[in-house]
Subunit: 323 residues, 2 copies
């Protein structure tokens, strides 16, 4: 029985166990390349397309690792979380695959499309007011009523081990990289990346990419302690949340550097990817390419893995079009 | 030396030769699936994503087969074609890879973006008036001046053999199918599909999908002879051209049936694919899914290969948005 108590307790064995566990339930997503984007950046880019997971985001990995790691007794009570983003739909999806309940606390102001997706996967939504106190109060009540296992969107070590399987595949699919870069919000994907890459490819640099307008991880990294912002606003709506203890552990221990990009740079990188890689991805997923374009000296001549984290976007409101 | 004189002369050996020849220059594109689209259609759909070729369309296969099949003497004079679509950019791309000239005759009214793409790949554009007579006259002059090898967008047997490699991969990647469906315009992709599938999987049904507003192949199929329309108008701008002798041979000999879809149905299928498969594809590529949704009885319970032919689309003018 592996120790899942903290981020620091995680080993490459956790990642291998997670990969075996979730393999039947997730996709081994393709790695795409673009001669044109390579020419633009001077690097050789390998895009790991987690937007092509069935529920459209890498978060299905961590969610499946948590859901399918439960023993039958715990599983019967289901799982619960608070999230208004991809974690909510991916946890609902994983619970649907196992046939167990999933309770999600979500602000009543969350977009209808996100609520619809959670419900399509059988998730039960309890609405709260859009404040931290209301969310915590509502969540405590829901959890007390259902006894469901709490799966935090990113600070849960089971979730981090699940996200770590993405880099495991990326390293296999590319045969090795000089650097890997992923967006950073709460730090779940970056922590998983650190866990795998620091063990299997310690010479590979690990970069995180963050919106300038929600640069709490960048400032935390420079300051040496967690800084959490109250209510950042950015088009990269998957990257609003702050680091927590288990993800901060990986960021401070293994991340090489954190780069930031402006809203305009993110939108331009998003459109570039849609045009030349021809995949639909969220603004959050465009932040790495935006920072690569901004720091060509760091990446030039290098083999760089770029994790495209998600593809759930409102096709009626594309940010490069005027409204 | 294989016989490339007519469509009827093509054999599975031509396809295997083409695949060996073009393999270093094209991508083995991924086959994507969507539980959601399967649930909507009642079928098991395997989407072969030719939109993920570097120049964004399957036409790179036929273009590379023609370009890399030339002996050095012929190659030195380059290649030439008339096209305002994906064939022009894919032939330019193939010629660039071999380092030979590519001359393209294109109406002066063609979209600037298409001209830019051809030029980005080193293609030389000669503009003509937007009429058949001007195009033919201009093309004859260009070809006489350059001596370039004429590569027809779809009626050239080398091109058909190249397009046929797409189904070769699709059959390998899926392990067999009950049916395969592709859009039909001039018939290059469908002919290649017929060539491969009739040889390697003769029990697999072959369907073609066409816009109602450019249904000349549908009417040709029903009438038993080629019907060519003068100037059809449809959002599926890759499917405007008529069948010719070599493609008509395959359509009349091997196609199981041709289905059509309305403009609205095409747009809805396009948006559905962007949303749930999360790839960027052209309206032309959405016609197969539109017809599957329209004829559920034909496809229900079947394993169906769906060829997504291209992903070059103006991201500033998406058809489901009002302008």
């Amino acid at each position: 029985m592996l120790d899942y108590s903290t981020g620091a307790a995680l080993t490459i064995e956790h990642v291998r166990e997670a990969h075996e566990r979730i393999r039947p339930h997730i996709r081994r997503t393709p790695v795409l390349t673009s001669d044109h984007l390579d020419a633009l950046t001077g690097a050789t880019l390998f895009f790991k397309c987690e937007n092509l997971q069935e529920p459209g985001a890498f978060k299905v990995r961590g969610a499946c690792n948590a859901v399918f790691g439960l023993d039958d007794g715990a599983a019967a009570k289901g799982v619960a979380t608070h999230s208004s983003g991809n974690h909510a739909s991916c946890l609902s999806y994983a619970a649907m695959l196992r046939g167990i309940p999933c309770n999600v606390v979500m602000p009543r102001t969350a977009p209808q499309a996100k609520k619809d997706t959670v419900r399509r996967y059988g998730g039960r939504i309890t609405e709260c007011d859009p404040s931290t106190s209301s969310r915590e109060e509502t969540f405590a009540r829901v959890q007390a009523e259902t006894g469901g296992d709490f799966v935090h969107p990113y600070n849960d070590p089971r979730v981090i081990a699940g996200q770590a399987t993405c880099s495991l595949e990326l390293l296999e699919q590319t045969g090795g990289l000089d650097a890997v870069i992923a967006p950073i919000g709460g730090g779940g994907m970056i922590s998983g990346t650190c866990l795998t890459v620091s063990n299997l490819a310690p010479e590979t640099a690990i970069y995180a990419a963050e919106p300038e307008q929600a640069d709490d991880a960048f400032r935390s990294f420079k300051a040496g302690h967690i800084i959490a912002d109250d209510a950042p606003e950015t088009i990269a709506d998957g990257l609003l949340v702050p680091l927590k203890d288990n993800t901060w552990y990986f960021v401070k221990t293994h991340v090489t550097d954190i780069f930031t990009a402006s809203e305009q740079e993110i939108i331009e990188a998003m459109k570039l990817t849609w045009k030349h890689l021809r995949v639909v991805m969220e603004p959050s997923s465009a932040v790495p390419l935006a920072t690569i374009l901004k720091h060509p000296g760091v990446f030039k001549g290098k083999r760089v893995g770029v994790i495209i984290t998600g593809g759930n976007v409102d096709l009626d409101k594309l940010p490069w079009l005027k409204w």
